[in-house]
């Protein structure tokens, strides 16, 4: 097991900078997810942890020791790729035993360990099959077994669920989480799917164009996003963002004036989660533009003096129809304000609906 530390890591190819000034500590036994849109540098970071890419600058520490130049084969990391990367010419058993070959594990011992690993991910019946004869989910499990069989000090998962269908994804999610708990291996998951990150990881690192935007728990990211980017990236349906001007303790948004709690002036952006807006007869007047049933919930599109807003309502059906007039309100602590210039969150500043 290992404690991983990245200090000022940068990776560039020629003039292209993939990762810039990355600082991150991953505690021993922790499950961390790196979340971001494609091309944000999350996979590059993962490959640097694996020893496949070498950082251009900065220090990468395993248990306090610098490992920048230690080769992948010496790092004792397990890795599961999006494509699973099973060796096509080896059967499942030989695939799982492959890492042990290089540790000098005697054959019987290796077979025993491979069987153990196969049991752990429930593929012990498939040992003699070739990768091409396996379904996506089975390949996924074999790849996991291969990564775990050498008892790695660090487990790396590169978009491991993105090639699976929805139902399988759900079960693999809890399966991977269970395995991580059982083995206690420090794990890093790379994904672009916020649900995957929030459901599986202890902490989430949000990246954008090579830099870390925010590190925190799922709740931190949801309630206290550091930036507009994180706010809009986390949460589905996405957060409502409306531009406004703050002055003299008031916030002017569209044709509406809200009250401000906290000290701020100038151009800001107000963020309101669709699920934190409450509907009743009174409050800010709104007109229903569209009703989108989403199964257990219903999304309403409203036209308000603040501009168009998305509002999420529980229940498969709601008593509203297109054209209905209604009022909305929200709790001040649910509102999030950002500086429009820097796009950073304004801490301890909230907006409140105007008093009736």
């Amino acid at each position: 097991m290992a404690r991983i530390e990245l200090r000022g890591i940068r990776k560039q190819w020629g003039a292209v900078v993939a990762v810039e000034d990355m600082n991150l500590v991953i505690e021993d036994g922790e499950f961390v997810a790196i979340l971001g849109p494609s091309g944000c540098g999350k996979s590059t970071t993962l490959f640097m942890l694996a020893g496949i890419y070498m950082p251009t600058a900065g220090d990468l520490l395993f248990d306090g020791a610098r490992v920048n130049e230690v080769e992948a084969k010496d790092r004792n990391v397990g890795i599961v790729f999006q494509s699973y990367a099973l060796y096509p010419h080896m059967n499942v058993k030989r695939n799982i035993m492959f890492p042990l070959k290089f540790k000098g594990v005697p054959r019987e011992e290796a077979e025993r360990l491979a069987l153990e690993a196969a049991r752990m991910v429930r593929v012990e019946e498939l040992l003699e099959r070739m990768p091409a004869q396996l379904s996506g989910g089975q390949q996924q499990r074999v790849a996991l077994a291969r990564a775990l069989v050498k008892k790695p000090q660090l487990l790396l998962l590169d978009e491991p669920l993105s090639n699976l269908d929805a139902a399988l994804r759900l079960s693999m999610r809890s399966e991977i989480k269970r395995l991580q708990r059982e083995t206690g291996i420090t794990t890093v998951l790379v994904t672009h799917d916020q649900i995957e990150a929030t459901t599986m990881a202890d902490r989430i690192v949000v990246m954008r164009t090579g830099r870390i935007e925010q590190i925190g728990t799922a709740e931190d990211l949801y309630r206290r996003p550091d930036s507009l980017f994180v706010a809009s990236f986390i949460g589905a349906p996405p957060i409502n963002l409306v531009e406004g001007e703050a002055a003299d303790g008031r916030l002017r948004v569209g044709e509406l004036t809200l009250e401000l709690r906290g000290d701020v002036a100038g151009a800001v952006v107000l963020g309101l989660r669709p699920e934190s807006i409450a509907l009743d007869g009174a409050g800010i007047p709104a007109r229903v533009v569209d009703v989108e049933p989403m199964g257990r919930e219903t999304l309403l599109l409203l036209d308000t003096p603040m501009g168009p807003l998305r509002v999420l309502q529980g229940g498969a059906s709601v008593p509203y129809r297109e054209g209905d007039q209604l009022g909305l309100t929200f709790a001040p602590q649910d509102s999030i304000l950002f500086d429009r210039e820097t796009e950073r969150r304004l801490a301890d500043v909230h907006a409140a609906p105007p008093k009736a």
Binding site: A65, R66, V67, E69, E71, D74, K103, G104
Partner: protein
């Protein structure tokens, strides 16, 4: 294995050791591999360089070997220096450094071998009866045509052949890729056999067919033969490129009112330009360098192409004048060399296309 013997030292120390070992091993293997490549490639580059040296320095006498080694003595360190420079700097500074090295090398070259260089061997370009030049007009007139005659014939052969291969293989490739017709799979499988079948084995009956049809010793005959032997390969390449064109655009062209011939000309053909370029360049180089078939099918001196010309020139005057043979050789290789350098990407694709089918 190594990892276990290193298990003893704990934590940081162990990582340190692994890092040092990895760095050392990486440098060692990289330099070993590049060293190996340099070593095995010298025997290829050196003869070409030797030919160039002979062509620009040979007089009668042994001066050119001195030129070769002096020039190598300048160029090898210059190339090594540039290689080292590239490891440490980049961008604008690399450019300046490179220019500086080039300038130093140039000055050194001028100082060391400058006085030995001359263009005399290239005099055939403006005084094309080279054998007459060496042996006196009387004996030569009957023996060798002008170098420009051979050049013109080679160019005619290569260009016509290229046009023929390109047209026929594009038409056939399109039809085989996009049309359903009875016997299609049979035709394709037969073509596959022809494609792998070595045409060289048919040289005797081809000679006889040419003789019977009166095409022997004509450029037309040679062009038809060489083009045909290129065809199976070229058709497969073109079919491969047509296969890769999405059906949607052709279907949409037809719903827009085009006939299949119009769709082919106006919509599909522009999509396979790269393929046509590759086939064309390849065919040109083949036509330009062809030897066995032209040697067998052409006799008359007025029909000589460059390969025959240089073959007979070297047979005849190699012992007398190295320099001029080397100069003609440089002149002859230049077009294919330039095409190769500029179209390398496509040519490699062609070599691969051959087996991809």
């Amino acid at each position: 294995m190594a990892v276990q013997t290193l298990e003893a030292p704990a934590g940081a120390e162990r990582w340190q050791m692994l890092a040092v070992r990895a760095r050392r091993r990486r440098r060692l293997t990289d330099s070993l591999l590049i060293g190996f490549l340099v070593t095995v490639s010298v025997p290829i580059i050196l003869p070409y360089f030797w030919m160039l040296t002979i062509s620009v320095s040979a007089k009668t006498g042994g001066v050119e070997s001195v030129v070769l080694w002096r020039a190598s003595g300048v160029l090898v360190p210059a190339v090594v220096a540039f290689g080292l420079l590239r490891l440490f700097v980049e961008g604008r500074r690399l450019l300046w450094g490179g220019l500086m090295i080039a300038a130093i090398a140039l000055v050194a070259l001028l100082l060391l071998v400058g006085q030995d260089l001359h263009a005399q061997n290239y005099r055939f370009l403006w005084n094309p009866d080279i054998v007459a030049d060496i042996r006196g007009r009387a004996t030569a007139e009957a023996q060798f045509p002008s170098v420009w005659v051979a050049f013109r014939n080679s160019l005619a052969l290569a260009v016509t052949q290229t046009a023929l291969v390109l047209t026929v293989s594009t038409l056939a490739g399109y039809y085989l890729s996009r049309f359903q017709f009875p016997g299609r799979s049979g035709f394709l499988q037969g073509l596959l056999v022809l494609h792998a079948f070595p045409a060289m084995t048919l040289i005797i009956p081809i000679f006889l067919l040419m003789y019977w049809s009166g095409l022997l010793d004509t450029l037309t005959g040679v062009i038809l033969v060489i083009a045909t032997l290129e065809l199976p390969f070229a058709i497969f390449i073109m079919k491969g490129f047509f296969d890769a064109v999405p059906w949607d655009i052709e279907m949409s062209a037809m719903t827009d009112g085009a006939s299949r011939r119009q769709a082919f000309l106006q919509v599909v053909l522009p999509q396979v330009k790269v393929g046509m370029l590759a086939v064309g360049v390849f065919a040109f180089i083949k036509g330009w360098e062809e030897y066995v078939f032209v040697r067998t099918l052409l006799f008359e001196k007025q029909n000589w192409v460059m390969s025959l010309y240089i073959f007979w020139v070297s047979e005849d005057i190699m012992g007398v004048d190295y320099g001029i043979v080397a100069a003609v050789a440089v002149f002859y290789i230049l077009p294919s060399l330039l095409l190769y350098i500029f179209c390398q990407k496509y040519l490699v694709q062609m070599t691969l296309g051959g087996i991809k089918g």
